[in-house]
């Protein structure tokens, strides 16, 4: 993995509910090559141990708002991967 340079972005990724249980972690810092997107972060997560339990296109939120898979990531962003919602 490259160090933090002008060619990478560093994002904080949060996992919840069944996804956090499946991967055995609820937060991870990812350093991604530019241009980084939500999709490339999810691909990174799916390469982790048990990561295949994540769907290829999960619901995601970027800085507290639901986002598309092709949204660009910048250093300092908070990306959350959300299991199917079940509030109420």
């Amino acid at each position: 993995m490259q160090s933090q340079t002008g060619s990478t972005v560093s994002v904080r990724v949060l996992l919840f509910g069944s996804y956090a249980e499946s991967l055995g972690l609820d937060a991870v810092e990812l350093v991604l090559d530019k241009p980084a997107t939500v999709a490339s972060a999810v691909d990174h997560l799916r390469a982790l141990p048990q990561g295949e339990r994540l769907p290829p296109r999960p619901l995601c939120a970027l800085n507290l708002t639901q986002t598309r898979m092709d949204a660009a990531l910048s250093s300092g962003d908070e990306l959350a991967v959300l299991p199917p919602l079940a509030g109420g």
């Binding site: 949060l14 069944s18 619901l59 939120a61 507290l64 299991p83 199917p84 919602l85 509030g87």
Partner: protein
């Protein structure tokens, strides 16, 4: 304003937030923990949330309702372990007339179920534990899956009836 709470929901507190002499119609929706899910007996639920986003999303939904209708709206969603019959969510909408209060109340609970990042784990009488909408329950029906908003909205009131 804090929409999430780990304490029992007190409806009167919510009503007091939105009721006023000019708003004579007050509509309330309560979601309570049901003792069955797809034919299996449920003992209790455990709710969790992405709290920062859930607060923000609830705020957006309330603002949308208050801009769309002439209403004052508030809500609470409880987190943590809940027993059968406990109130998990309450929405209260107050308006000069009942029609707007009912419409706003309905809008807020449907949007909450569709957009607010909250999850629940069900503990069944047979000893099994499942995340609602994931795993085996999700494979059986996929009912809670967020990508099928129409189905989710259609299911909303039935689930809490």
């Amino acid at each position: 304003m804090t929409f999430l709470t780990d304490q029992p929901i007190v409806l009167e507190t919510l009503v007091a937030r939105v009721q006023s002499p000019s708003r004579g119609g007050v509509a309330c929706f309560l979601g309570t923990v049901r003792n069955h899910h797809e034919g299996r007996q449920v003992l209790r639920l455990d709710y969790s949330a992405y709290a920062a986003m859930a607060e923000a999303e609830c705020g957006r939904i309330v603002a949308e309702a208050e801009s769309r209708w002439n209403v004052a709206v508030t809500l609470n969603h409880r987190l943590g372990q809940l027993e059968i019959g406990d109130t998990s969510v309450a929405v209260v909408a107050a308006s000069a007339h009942r029609d707007e209060a009912f419409q706003a109340c309905r809008y807020v609970i449907e949007e909450l179920k569709r957009r607010v990042p909250i999850w629940k784990k069900e503990y069944f009488a047979d000893g099994s534990v499942e995340w609602v909408g994931s795993g085996e329950a999700g494979k059986r029906g996929g009912k809670d899956h967020h990508t099928d908003a129409g189905e989710l909205v259609g299911r909303g009131l039935d689930e809490n009836r």
